[in-house]
Symmetry: C2
């Protein structure tokens, strides 16, 4: 009686969407314990991986509206997870820099996320997980590429 309609399950976008949402929710739960949301994680990752960014750069790298970047960065600054500083060369710009706390918090988040993964992908073997990742990376690259073509660098 609680069986999912086969008409839905045979639709791969539906499966992707459902499992994706489950993944999203679980990660979000962990982040919430630290009063963070997904964008906070993304911004931290960008800063730790690529170093300081001007806000405009964060917006374009993460494909997020620039006015939303402001809010996310603001939260992070209040939490002491980033430093903001006016650019000396171009005083319109604000450079966002990771702090030591960024790195450690990001590391913790990553570890949380790996736990989520362990739970979520439990039915898959190690090989399958790698395969899944490989496929998803390609799909991800594909959709990002498409998006770039359509939205000409807002």
């Amino acid at each position: 009686m609680n069986e999912t309609p086969p008409s839905l399950l045979e639709l791969r976008p539906y499966l992707l969407s459902k499992t994706g949402k489950a993944a999203r929710n679980r990660v979000a739960e962990r982040l919430a314990e630290r009063d963070l949301r997904l964008w906070h994680m993304a911004v931290l990752a960008a800063l730790v991986d690529f170093g300081p960014h001007v806000q405009r750069e964060l917006a374009s790298r993460l494909a997020i509206d620039r006015s939303d970047v402001v809010k996310v960065v603001d939260d992070l600054a209040v939490a002491g997870l980033v430093d903001r500083a006016r650019d000396a060369d171009d005083r319109r710009r604000v450079t966002v820099t990771p702090t030591p706390a960024s790195r450690s918090v990001l590391a913790e988040i990553q570890s949380d996320t790996r736990n989520v993964q362990e739970d979520l992908l439990a039915p898959l073997t190690e090989d399958e997980r790698t395969q899944l990742e490989d496929m998803l990376r390609r799909v991800y690259a594909h959709i990002n590429h498409e998006a770039d073509g359509q939205r000409p660098s807002r």
Copy 2:
């Protein structure tokens, strides 16, 4: 410069969530052309696959709040995609029945969704898509099973 932070890409839940969201959005776009949303599709699928349901059954099958079922069914009824009728045996219940229109609209939606799939999964070979589906089905079953254990049949 627009490269996604590797710290994120190495997290499989992140990849799942992102690709899932892309899938979700694209399907939702197509549905929107018919003034439908995802839940409408799910309800139609349940009705066409398993026949008439009492609303309570829809809620439990689809894991949606029963008060939300009312609204979704209401929309579908207005659009002529379902019939509602008080159950003669138990007049508290309302039985929701698919109409001929249900079947054809669901078929169209499925075809739309297959187009979305074609687009979304373009980088994957046919074999890989099958593999992906297989893995996602297992993950989906796994998370549903977990959810059942936790939420005792609301």
